[in-house]
């Protein structure tokens, strides 16, 4: 039986999006918890499906989580890989909802909820790893969580459709 061949354009798109996400992470290293990575991973899931989106998210954290100026911790690393993959998976489920241009309120609220779940997971794991009570870890992490969720709400709301349209335009040119 013929195995479905992986589209090389998809593979290159994953590589480009992952590289872009990693590059923007390092560029925005000074703005803690405000990153374009989540939007890029979500968009990759939207364009190529949940599995590819999850792979993109995992790949980004494989690099950024290992070569991280804030240090490396295996449990936190695993939680961020899983958390980031959620953006890609959710992007796949979002397919067919993001047509058109301009502000996308659904993308905005999805970005908010995904980020909330992501922060919940990573805060709990970070707290357990550091030996801090979970409640304390969650409460002290709230300012960072708010910065992350609010920025992602804005990025997803305003950035999702233009990003999808731009990538689609480039991909169509190559056909």
């Amino acid at each position: 039986m013929d195995q479905p061949r992986l589209d090389p354009r998809k593979i290159s798109l994953i590589a480009i999006l992952a590289a872009t996400a990693i590059a923007t992470n390092y560029l925005m290293i000074g703005t803690l918890n405000i990153k374009l990575m989540d939007l890029i991973v979500f968009t990759s899931g939207y364009l190529m499906g949940s599995v590819m989106g999850a792979i993109t998210g995992g790949m980004v954290w494989l690099v950024y989580g290992t070569l991280n100026p804030f240090g490396f911790s295996l449990p936190v690393f695993i939680s961020t890989v899983i958390g980031e993959a959620l953006y890609g998976i959710a992007g796949g489920f979002f397919r067919g909802k993001g047509a058109g241009s301009g502000f996308d309120p659904w993308a905005a609220v999805t970005g908010f909820l995904l980020t909330f779940v992501y922060d919940l997971i990573t805060s709990i794991v970070s707290g357990v790893t550091a030996g801090v009570p979970i409640t304390m870890a969650l409460i002290t992490g709230i300012p960072f969580m708010l910065a992350h969720t609010v920025s992602n709400t804005v990025f997803f709301g305003f950035g999702f459709k233009p990003l999808v349209n731009s990538i689609n335009k480039v991909m169509r040119k190559d056909e």
Partner: protein, 149 residues
């Protein structure tokens, strides 16, 4: 409005509720932390401060209380008064002579007199700069007429 709009509004409200709750929880946590810090600072302060009640009787029926005022241990009545409401004085061989309390300067027929409370008011037997206040002291300044005295 169609169903989709209602769904969107519901989810958006859920998001704002989550954000507001998180903000409220954090503020509450900060408030409790500050309250704990404040209690700790107060207990530390108790070791080297005295808490006094200061009363200013302006002689015209107006009386002002400065209760539970913390001042440095070893402060005199004069120091405490200066810190609490402001006072001016002149020094002489007999000690400090108060020329105004809280901005009120006595005329030629009045003067400021201080007293402490312990089973009744007792007039200060020394100058206000000579008596060191202690924790729990109740001090009164009275705008007194020379004729009454």
């Amino acid at each position: 409005m169609n169903e989709n709009t209602y769904k969107l509004i519901s989810v958006a409200l859920l998001c704002t509720t989550i954000a507001a709750s998180a903000f409220a929880v954090y503020n509450n946590y900060q408030f409790n932390e500050l309250k704990k810090d404040y209690a700790a600072v107060l207990s530390e302060l108790e070791g080297f401060t005295a808490q006094v009640d200061l009363m200013i009787d302006y002689g015209n029926g107006t009386v002002t209380w400065y209760n539970d005022t913390r001042i440095q241990s070893g402060s005199s009545v004069l120091d405490a008064t200066i810190v609490v409401c402001g006072a001016e004085y002149q020094t002489s061989d007999f000690g400090a002579f108060i020329t105004s309390v809280n901005g009120l300067q006595p005329d030629s027929s009045h003067f400021w007199m201080w007293s402490t409370y312990e089973d009744g008011w007792e007039v200060g037997m020394v100058g206000a700069d000579q008596y060191n206040v202690h924790n729990g002291d109740i001090i009164r300044w009275t705008y007194t007429s020379i004729t009454e005295w």
